[in-house]
């Protein structure tokens, strides 16, 4: 393995690492030890305390500093003679263009999100540079090799989409704790502390919402003569009491469900004085708004404890008060952040009170934070193993040892005695719109839809383009860029706002659009097919793209007959994945037998495909805490902790 040929290939190579987080730290160390001499590393993040348990190149004293730079300095301490070039920047920055990528022999990804992975995949294809891709979560991980024309690209197979929930489940009929969390975070928190102008489904709860909308609008405004305690209690009674009563009035909904219980402050805090129950002064020692905590002012310490209804109610009122007293300037601009202690406290308490109403088991702050922040659990060992596997693949790529390329899965439970399972990479998907130039098909009502809808619903979110240029034949319909003159921008704005069939050169069934992205050097064709009607439930975009595949993960709550969406602003609520996680998971592998590794006999291959673990991997991508790994996070255990 460690032959002379091998060393000369390593020494002469120039590699790009994207990501200096959990996998990145391990990877940079292993590359340096293996003899790599010229390493470039991009990461836009700064170091946080929760990184330190695994990102071993970082220390407490580095918190707040650039990951890429600190990682470089740490590795130079044991390998001072090599060259490491750090970039504290976003990998999507236009400076990292095709020419930038072309200088490297191989690109190694240690990323945490789908968007950046797709971007790097496209640039690697455009620059014709091999890519080694990776991901971990808990004890699970994977490494894959993507070489243009030889193996599949990162986007040849569908990727799991972020989990979404139907709005009615969240606003009216929650059945799981995560539904309460989404309600507390996306609706209530946003309503009280976020941008007031943003549309919000909080008040959509029953058929008569429209008639009471005027009343509802006022409820969340603090009245002039109202002190903060009164305000908090009024909000409490409105969202946990009145709103539930309103929902109960719609008998149809509760025919086959347990009826929720309205909760009023007089019941949950009946033996408490009406005066303030917390001690705001306990937070007085510091002026740093980020350290304000309702738990601290109420003298509660253990984030693993599950609070009673009374404790949740106190935290709710205290957190709400602290936002208005200590962080007044931020109110109106806040969005939920898992690292914001007060926000996590508020959301935990609100979700628990709502869960009490609906008879759903309560959760600790620690657990609620994991669900709300979509925190992907991570350990050092898996990252170290995955980094080792990345370097082994990178060396094969540098040696152009095509036949020995492998995708490797790191499993928690052995499959056929293997904990590390190599599988031969798959050939490029011939109908992949990213690497094969196969046209996509868009079904759309060309008499009703506008170009802007295609851009906002298809081109940006689904095709992952950030700077698209759209052409119809030779005519440019739309482009973005800083250097465009105003007349041009105005003409684009006019075109974008027109119905497709009413454009100067109308877009109708049979038309073909060409969409390209300047920075990604990706170009694809979209064939247009006219269709009159779309199912509002199943096809909420009002258009359907095919030839592009993404695993659907809209949760089915098993009751489509209940429609509480009157006046709804969105069809589903999306739970975003945490930013600093390493993971993005093994996609389900359902391929032809002939495509599976030569090392693996056909019966083995079936085992691989039938392997439960891989399927579980697929499903567990986003919501992590719900069904924790088999390793034994028994929720009961955490809960019954003395």
């Amino acid at each position: 393995m460690a032959s002379h040929h091998h060393f000369s290939v390593i020494k002469g190579s120039k590699v790009l690492m994207v990501g200096a987080g959990g996998i990145g730290c391990e990877l940079l160390k292993t590359l340096a030890l293996s003899g790599f001499q010229d390493i470039h590393i991009i990461d836009m993040d700064t170091i946080e305390v929760s990184n330190l348990n695994r990102q071993f190149l970082f220390r407490q004293s580095h918190v707040g500093q650039s990951k890429a730079r600190v990682a470089r300095d740490a590795v130079l301490k044991f390998r001072p003679e090599i060259s490491i070039t750090p970039y504290h920047a976003n990998v999507k920055d236009p400076n990292f263009d095709v020419d930038f990528y072309k200088q490297f022999n191989v690109v190694l990804n240690g990323l945490d999100n789908l968007d950046a992975r797709r971007h790097v995949n496209r640039l690697c294809l455009a620059a014709d540079v091999p890519l080694v891709e990776s991901g971990t979560t808990g004890f699970l991980g994977q490494v894959t090799v993507h070489v243009k024309g030889k193996t599949e690209c990162y986007e040849c197979q569908p990727k799991p989409a972020p989990k979404t929930y139907p709005v009615c489940t969240i606003t009216s009929t929650p059945s799981k704790f995560v539904h309460c969390i989404v309600w507390a975070k996306e609706l209530l928190f946003a309503k009280l502390f976020g941008d007031k102008n943003q549309e919000n489904d909080l008040n959509v709860r029953s058929g008569d919402a429209a008639s009471s909308s005027n009343h509802v609008e006022d409820v969340f405004e603090r009245r002039n003569d109202e002190d903060i305690d009164q305000y908090g209690r009024r909000i409490y009674d409105h969202v946990f009491g009145y709103n539930i009563e309103m929902a109960l009035s719609n008998e149809e909904t509760w025919k086959n469900r347990n009826r929720p219980k309205p909760i009023y402050i007089r019941d949950s805090l009946h033996d408490e004085p009406t005066q303030q129950n917390g001690n705001v002064e306990k937070n007085g020692g510091t002026n740093d708004p980020s350290s304000v905590s309702a738990m601290a002012s109420l003298g509660m310490k253990n984030p693993q404890d599950i609070w009673s209804l009374k404790e949740n109610s106190k935290i709710f009122l205290e957190a709400l008060k602290l936002f208005f007293l200590k962080r007044e300037k931020e109110v109106g601009n806040l969005t939920f952040d898992k690292d914001d202690q007060l926000a996590v406290e508020f959301v935990t308490a609100a979700a628990n009170i709502r869960a009490t109403s609906f008879g759903i088991p309560l959760h600790s702050l620690f657990e609620a934070k994991g669900i709300a922040g979509n925190i992907v659990h991570a350990v050092a060992t898996t990252n170290a193993i995955i980094a080792g596997l990345i370097v082994i693949e990178a060396i094969k790529v540098l040696q152009n040892d095509t036949k020995r390329y492998r995708m490797t899965y790191c499993l928690e439970h052995p499959s056929r005695k293997m904990l590390l399972m190599p599988v031969e990479p798959f050939e490029p998907n011939k109908s992949c719109y990213v690497c094969s130039e196969t046209p996509l098909l868009l079904e759309i009502n060309t008499h009703r839809s506008k170009l802007s809808e295609i851009i906002e619903k298809i081109v940006k979110p689904k095709l992952g383009m950030s700077a698209p240029i759209i052409m119809h034949g030779a005519e440019v319909l739309y482009e973005t860029g800083d250097d465009l003159d105003e007349d041009l921008l105005a003409s684009y704005a006019a075109k974008v706002d027109k119905v497709l069939s009413e454009l100067n050169s109308p877009i109708t069934g049979g038309s073909m659009l060409t969409v390209s992205d300047l920075y990604q050097e990706l170009r694809c064709s979209i064939n247009i097919k006219h269709r009159e009607e779309f199912d509002e439930e199943k096809e909420p975009d009002g258009m359907v793209l095919s030839g592009w595949s993404q695993a659907s993960s809209v949760e089915n709550d098993g009751d489509k007959s209940v429609d509480h969406n009157a006046g709804s602003t969105s069809e589903s609520l999306t739970v975003e994945t945490e930013k600093d996680s390493e993971a993005e998971i093994v996609s389900g592998k359902k391929r032809k037998l002939s495509e599976v590794s030569e090392d693996v006999t056909p019966s083995d291959a079936q085992e691989i495909r039938a392997n439960k673990k891989l399927e579980v991997l697929d499903e567990d991508d986003d919501i992590v805490m719900l069904d924790g790994g088999d390793f034994g996070i028994s929720k009961k255990k955490i809960q019954s902790h003395p």
Binding site: A2, S34, P303, V376, V379, I385, G388, M625, F631
Partner: protein, 323 residues
Amino acid sequence: MDGEELTEQETALYDRQIRVWGADAQRRLSKAHILVYGMKGTVAEFCKNIVLAGVGSLTLVDDRVATEESLAANFLIPPDENVYGGKTLAELCCDSLKDFNPMVRVLVEKGDLLSFGVDFYSKFDVVVVCCSSLATKKLINDKCRKLSKRVAFYTVDCKDSCGEIFVDLQLHRYSKKKLEETIECELNYSSFEEAISVPWRTLPRRASKVYFAMRVLESFEEAEGRKPGEISADDLPCVLKLKKELCESQSLNESHIPDGLLERLVTNGREFPPVCAIIGGILGQEVIKAISGKGDPLKNFFFFDAMDGKGVIEDVSSSNTGS
């Protein structure tokens, strides 16, 4: 369990891993004491993992002084002779490891592993030995087994593209999650000596070739009175001859130990850093499982070969411990 709560500082630092193994396991880790011998690259990787995980203490034993070679796969030693000159490998690694996690005590124990009495081993919950002779492995394993408390014993070795881990947890009781329930399990392990005495012909036909190759090298070093790893290309003919003899006496087809594999291990016995990371990672996970009593531990050998990329578990247990 013991009711002691994790501190706020611990909860913040270990947040992501508590989400993997739970607060219970984290508390057990913080009370565990680990001993390692042989500060090679693989052990450096293991130590990093276990210090980050937050064990109670880690004691390093290795009185050898640093050389060019000992730096090769070990990121814990600064390559500056002014720094490493005159210090032992254990001292150098200790200096670096202390920095990784201020909540873990990292210590150095001077002296020869073989000279430590049984009492010394009773201070630990886990003992890991690397680059040790066959006799040393057997002896330390025996000392661990003589104690009234269970001391988990591991050996680890990496050569060229290959790595091996051996595990002896004696009688191990643990819990694991099966569907919605948590079930209690029990495993009985063989000692190193018992395991390697299992006749080769009784092992599964597709047993890892690395297992046999490592036993051949072990026997060679013992027969020739070599130090662990003291072997070179010149020895290849003798090693191949020994392989032939062993295969004959064990009634094993020689094709189970390819000459090419032995040649790689003999001519390039140095550690390959990516393999150190992989083996050190697996070992770290296994030690965490043993301490926490959560999840199926591997029984009782693990092999990785970068040539085929497989990481395989083999159960080589004597019949009286059951397999």
